[in-house]
Symmetry: C2
Subunit: 666 residues, 2 copies
């Protein structure tokens, strides 16, 4: 569908340009993208082989039109059927895995619509990728499958394990990177990742990769998206440009996150948010208008990355490999560094313009109401920057091979600098700057490219990029979007180091009235109903007596309301003055008194408690590791207060000098 924007294959409209010409008998290796079966729209409509200026304008116009059609369909479907299908979905999946529930987010409608609109959005030529949304799609599949098995339908924790594995399978399919997928799920998506989940995710990712290989989508028995093979090892001194790429990636990542968040906040708070369709159409039109004239932006982003990663071989006819041939040209694959030819000069300019376009348009694209991933655009920005630096280094080494720094490893006639490797490192750096992944990033990159020899350059770039980006802003793009949307997400990566105690955070505060509690054997139905009506808490602690304040258990508001209501209707003798018993054994009833209501079975007998002197550092740790929603606070065995997840989040925000009221809690 991406190629449909440019033309059509006469053998069948579902073939893309490359595939169309594969089947053509008249194609040579050199001209493998030119064949009579593939017609641009201008050729087809004017029935002429040659395209003039008019043909160009016609192609241009139809390119934009197709792009608008695709994106319009995408946004229409998303708006109409599944509003949750937009965006990458990774921030929400992180939140869901941390224990928050967003109803319908992983439902069948989201799955269906996201799958269809993702195809449309990617082929519309917008600056977005399919990888993040594929994680969401995989999690939808996982969630829907969970409903088939009682074990998983009933148990929230088990379901989250399935979702972690699904995320791994999603990345495994998106990149053909099974191990990278498992690590991505571990590092970026999952909140709590027990070891048995690691093993199961691994299995899911294996099956996903295996299925992918059986389908063989790239026609080369390879799993990976951008297979590259470089011929020369890298030199230690090259670490300097690699680290420069890391710095660029970090700066771009931080800049991107800031600008994107500012733009998204603007969308949330101003009138802009009311016209999502118009926004999508305007951005699509702008992207298409600016992209068409430049060869490198007109092609799909994954093709672009693939070309940038590529090492030039002798037979390569692409513009990027247009070098002046060396005087003593060698046979075989090893090519010495050569001077740039005119084609490469043009390509350099075009790449610079492409960099500029991708740099800015992605900021406005990510967050629109269409499915949109960030991996491919980030990698494209990095790959362009890397390739440019690589070509620059190569020319520098060629023309100044007598410089001290090139002595010894870059003599004339040697193949010392591989621009494709720079593109790969740059891509890793930019992706790292945006997402702040480390280990999973490196694994994905080398699974993606097969470049195992280049772990150290990739690691150096990924780490520099993370450091630089972290120095400017602590949060990765996903965490930033979580905070922007106000999801109650307790970040597991950052340490809480302040010296506050549980008593400083718990409710009620020192000046407030005492905690609302129920007693185990002295309150009537009326009393309890009054408390339920007066307060909005979602649960109440039950104590032995108001005087002793000794904790018995915890009861949920919802359970209480339902039980009292049904008892009043169905159980005989339950009136407002009936006493509610939470105890195990009930005393014998005095004669003529209303019958009692036994609610012991509602009680959570093992509520979590900490003492008021517990440092908040430990409380935060407990909330994170045990995934609690609330925790009771005691002093010398007496119940004193309660800390909810919201209180913890607000306290962390307060300590970090952020606005505590930005934390929502549905």
């Amino acid at each position: 569908m991406t190629d449909l924007k440019e033309g059509v294959c006469l053998n069948g409209f579902w073939y893309n340009h490359e595939h169309c010409c594969w089947n053509s008998p008249q194609t040579t290796f050199q001209d493998r993208d030119k064949c009579p079966e593939w017609r641009t729209w201008a050729q087809l409509l004017t029935s002429r082989e040659e395209e003039g200026a008019l043909g160009y304008i016609l192609n241009y116009f139809l390119y934009v039109l197709w792009a608008l059609l695709f994106s319009f369909l995408a946004v229409l479907l998303v708006r109409g059927f599944a509003p949750y299908a937009c965006g990458s979905g990774i921030p929400e999946i992180k939140t869901i895995l941390s224990g928050f529930i967003i109803r319908g987010y992983l439902g069948k409608w989201t799955l269906l619509i996201k799958t269809v609109t993702l195809v449309l959005a990617v082929s519309s030529g917008l600056s977005l990728g399919k990888e993040g949304p594929l994680v969401h799609v995989a999690c939808c599949c996982g969630n829907i499958l969970c409903h088939l098995f009682t074990k998983y339908r009933k148990n929230e924790a088990k379901r989250r394990e399935v979702l972690s594995a699904a995320a791994a399978a999603g990345v495994s399919v998106a990149f053909g990177a099974p191990i990278g997928g498992v690590l991505f799920s571990l590092e970026e998506v999952s909140y709590y990742f027990p070891l048995k989940t690691l093993w199961r995710s691994f299995f899911a990712a294996l099956v996903a990769a295996f299925t992918l290989r059986s389908i063989n989508p790239f026609g080369n028995s390879r799993l990976v998206l951008f297979y590259v093979e470089f011929h020369s090892p890298w030199h230690l001194l090259e670490l300097v440009p690699f680290i420069l790429l890391g710095i660029f990636g970090g700066l771009w990542g931080a800049f991107f996150i800031r600008s994107n968040i500012a733009w998204c906040r603007r969308r949330k708070t101003t009138k802009l948010g009311r016209y999502p369709m118009l926004e999508v159409l305007v951005v699509t039109a702008l992207t298409a208008l600016l992209a068409f004239p430049n060869k490198y932006t007109r092609m799909s982003t994954s093709e672009l990355i693939s070309e940038l990663f590529n090492d030039c071989s002798l037979l390569d006819s692409s513009q990027l490999c247009d070098y002046r041939s060396a005087p003593n040209s060698t046979q075989g694959d090893d090519l010495p560094d050569r001077a740039a030819g005119p084609g490469l000069h043009v390509a350099t300019w075009q790449l610079m313009l492409a960099l500029l376009l991708k740099f800015f348009i992605t900021i406005f694209t990510f967050g629109m109401k269409v499915p949109s991933g960030l991996f491919i655009p980030s990698m494209a920005v990095g790959a362009i920057a890397g390739r440019l630096l690589g070509v620059g280094m190569e020319q520098l080494a060629y023309h100044h091979h007598d410089w001290l720094i090139f002595k010894g490893w870059c003599s004339p006639g040697a193949d010392c600098i591989t621009p494709g490797l720079y593109a790969m490192v740059g891509a890793a750096a930019c992706l790292g700057g945006v997402t702040r992944m480390t280990v999973s990033l490196v694994v994905i990159m080398f699974e993606l490219t097969g470049g195992l020899e280049y772990i150290v350059p990739l690691m150096a770039a990924a780490m520099t990029s993370k450091w630089v980006a972290d120095a400017i802003g602590r949060e990765g793009i996903y965490d930033a979007h979580i905070r922007l949307n106000g999801y109650p997400f307790l970040e597991a990566k950052e340490e809480f180091t302040h010296k506050t105690l549980a008593m400083d955070v718990m409710r009620p505060r020192r000046s407030d009235p005492a905690l609302t509690v129920l007693t185990q054997d002295s309150m009537t139905v009326e009393d309890v109903e009054a408390i339920i009506n007066e307060t909005t808490y979602s649960g109440y602690p039950v104590v032995v007596s108001r005087e002793s304040q000794r904790l018995v258990g915890f009861v949920l508001r919802r359970d209480l309301v339902i039980s009292i209501e049904s008892a009043r209707k169905k159980q005989e003798g339950i009136v407002s003055s009936s006493v509610i018993y939470f105890t195990d054994h009930c005393p014998p009833l005095p004669p003529c008194s209303p019958s009692m209501l036994k609610l012991r079975n509602l009680l959570d007998l093992s509520p979590f408690t900490v003492t008021d002197q517990t440092p908040m550092e430990i409380v935060v740790d407990i909330f994170r590791k045990l995934g609690l929603r609330q925790c009771l606070v005691t002093h010398n065995g007496k119940l004193l207060g309660i800390i909810t997840k919201k209180d913890v989040l607000k306290h962390i925000a307060q300590m970090a000098n952020q606005d505590p009221d930005s934390i929502l809690f549905n």
Copy 2:
């Protein structure tokens, strides 16, 4: 030093055979292991070029003698200076990371002696590897470095993070596999692995890999130990032999663990354990005697693995590549499958004998009083089995290429089966069977060999192997050794699914006398001393009063003893009848009474509590995730009992029908 067993280099005794001949001007590529500078001991001692039967016997004798000398030195040093330097150290490091303290295990003596004896043990030709011990060595370094920084010296949790990172660096150096190292630390070694540790381990592993690359130990700018490049992709049908290898690996792993544990238990319980030196010497002599006549056992195990992984090229002169040349021999690297030559027949027999030797001798070697790792021997067993199967498959395909299963992908003249790949898969399967690693195993294997294309075969073999081995015995070798040694290790991978409650596990039992507690303001120094003398508990809960049993805090026995002792000596007026106050504010003293002892600062004011109704499933989870040593049990706000880690471990053992008394606790 390994080659010193066979001969000596005249240019300098520190050169090994290969290195010695590199520098020789008279060597051709074909005869690169024959050069006049390298002399076997027989050649040197008899001053003759030709070796007769006598020379062979002389070489044999000296080979055994050198082996005995090396292993004698190793065991002497271990016995004399650092008893903790023996074994692989991974079970102990796992235990240490789970919160148990073994004093001196990571000290400077262990570091020094283990480094030296590891060299000796490996060069003695015993069936052991250097990888596991290198993890121990790295952890020693990490621990010693921790002592330099107050932040890490004082904080146990921080130190454990450093040790996790050190383990990653250790594997990174051992295999040249930085990412595999991080995953090994995560999957196998570390108990609790927060995400920030992932990132730091990654950094440590990067620096380790980078340093290794700068030193360039293999002289080929490659990080990896066994670099291989295969020329043909694998076929789907080959998954059947790969899964067979997985089954073999699983069976071998389970068999090895059972036999090794049985032998180690025998060593612990019988007289055998009293003669560790004799044991080492006997095993060394036996290994050397059986190893010398066979070329494949005489060479070092890593050389053997390297040769087994190797894909045969045209110029390869090794016995394993002795095929009959094909009638229409092609130029280049792609070699069609050919019939086996006489050399390969001999090699097959020798490999079978080598398999038999390694199969059995490793059982007796692992666990002796010398540093010994398991990675290399396990991989060797698997690689031999895999290579044999690979050669078998190749010959089958060559001679029966008309069979249905070979149709289409294995036509005559095609290079369809790569025996080296089978060796690699076999090595992964056996290593997986012994250690039960999954993700880290696959990552290490492909970092080790550069075989990124072969993730699916490796994963299939690793998983089959784990399933088969798990079906026979649940524990990997490290867990089995932890249990053999009775370390208090709470396994994080297995779920606790029984329906018991905290009250069933806590002490005191229902029939026992009540829990020993201290009161906060009514006990005298004498009372407390009496309690300390009567009981052996390592800590006591402090309550408001014996009647209320309301919990105030927890005090450690050690702190109490020290404080009372020093107060009696240094503080005026402290006598046996002085009252100990754990309260915040002390009441005014009545006149003429002995002065009081304030010990509030000893009190842990935030002891962990659960209610008696808490399911043990949750209690086990809390112990694991929070790394607790004990936890107090309350009922309706009253202190009822205590659960220690030992109680939890005993309960788990009891539920699994194991002997609960096998759990030690120092």
